[in-house]
């Protein structure tokens, strides 16, 4: 596979972008940072599919496409289905020798938002993982149904206000905790599963490359801060991602073959989750005295999860 150098940013920057500008994602949206990085970490041909969501509608504004690759625009739930169908077709045609260039390396990638990944496309994704196709599924996790106005998803953390789980005099926002999609995907026995973040560009590029190189179904959850629904200034996307990884609200780690866990980033000074929550409008109400217990709960869950990750890593099983 023609992976590109990610030794340092200067070398990485010599890659030729394959996601073009004049898409219509909000200024400062992290979705395109993540997608650009995926496309820049290889020179191979790419066949990409996208579930409906912000990325999909914003990169295919009729009559334009922002994709310099084969790209399949599909329903809310079937990016995994569509791209694994293409993968099978490619395999068969390769065997028969009926491809225009039988030796050209091709990688198959699906992008889905959290709404489509954690909820609506969940069984389609699970099926594709179980069938063992050679593809990589990347979830752009902005913790809400952003494209339709910010409804809660099963990726929305407890305490966030969303248009369907609103904070007010009688509610502190969403009552349920976030689903642990990384653990669920690892439980499929997938050869490579990871959680990555765009502020840590190098571990993200390396993780993407690992997933592309690994034969079989790989899954990556990426943190994708959403300036509109998380309510922060567009210029602060990377700063917010820093707070997410420094507070361990989003730990960065990988799981190989469903069991071997490696932590990919260890903050030198772990910050309190207050700093992360306080930087976003969607958590503003939690700082009222009567909601303090929710912040305390989030913090104690983070602490427990971090302990669990470290123990799992030490166990080397």
């Amino acid at each position: 596979m023609a992976i590109t150098s990610v030794k340092n940013l200067k070398e990485f920057s010599t890659n030729n972008d394959r996601l073009e500008g004049a898409h219509t994602l909000c200024p400062g949206c992290a979705h395109s940072m993540i997608v650009r990085e995926l496309m820049n970490c290889t020179d191979d041909n790419l066949v990409i599919s996208s579930n409906t969501g912000c990325l999909e509608v914003s990169t295919a504004v009729y009559p334009f496409t922002s994709w310099d690759t084969s790209w399949i625009h599909i329903g809310f739930e079937n990016a995994a289905t569509a791209v694994t169908g293409a993968e099978v077709m490619h395999k068969v045609r390769k065997k028969k020798g009926t491809l225009p260039d039988n030796d050209a390396p091709v990688k198959f990638v699906a992008f889905g938002g959290d709404g489509s990944t954690y909820d609506i496309g969940f069984q389609w994704l699970s099926g594709a993982m179980e069938r063992g196709h050679d593809f990589t599924y990347i979830c752009l996790d902005n913790e809400n149904y952003a494209n339709t106005g910010g409804q809660r998803s099963s990726a929305t953390p407890i305490g966030a206000t969303t248009s369907t789980a609103q904070a007010g005099t009688h509610s502190y926002g969403k009552k349920e905790k976030k689903k642990d999609i990384v653990a669920i995907m690892a439980a499929h026995g997938a050869p490579y599963v990871a959680q990555l973040a765009p502020n840590k560009w190098k571990s993200m590029a390396k993780g993407f490359q690992k997933a592309l190189e690994t034969e079989g179904p790989c899954f990556i959850n990426t943190v994708s801060p959403c300036t509109t629904e998380w309510r922060f200034d567009p210029k602060d996307t990377i700063h917010i991602t820093d707070l997410a990884t420094e507070s361990l609200m989003f730990p960065i780690y990988e799981i190989i073959d469903g069991h071997e866990l490696n932590i990919l980033y260890r903050p030198k000074n772990i910050i309190k989750v207050d700093d992360y929550l306080g930087a976003q409008g969607r958590y503003k109400h939690l700082f009222k005295p009567e909601n303090r217990h929710v912040i305390d709960l989030i913090q104690s869950d983070i602490d427990k999860y971090w302990t669990m990750l470290q123990r799992r890593e030490e166990a080397r099983i």
């Binding site: 010599t14 500008g21 898409h23 020179d43 496409t65 690759t69 765009p198």
Partner: protein
Amino acid sequence: MSVEAQDLKLLANDNRGQSGLENGSGLVGWEEVTQGSVLQSFDGNATGIALKKQEERAYSGYNSYTATVASWRIIKPVYNRDVCIDCQNCWVWCPDTSIISRDKQMLGIDYDHCKGCGVCVEVCPTNPKSLLMYGENTPMEDALSAWPEKKKKEK
């Protein structure tokens, strides 16, 4: 870099940003599009596009590269080559593919695709910064001539 160099089309022979999003080339109403029609994103053979730089590619009028979102901007980043260390932070984190870098060098901003989010300014590590936000209508020379001095570290 001189003001002229920043203003000119950084990439030669190029059809970048020609059309507004609402008037793409060959645009017909959706009800006139017949089944099976194909809108190619490149003219001719697109093989090996990953190995070609933007200025070497034959973008068709259906590639959003040829469209512009410049009208979205109310503030714009201005680039000062004198302070830049070519670290490429701005390149890796620009969400709109609007930092033009070639051969490990930052060349300037693609004002047809930049939406003025300000991310590049935030991630620029130099002191003073090599990128700063100004009002969309501020002339480049005014911005560059009043560039701030190096800031002392606050204690």
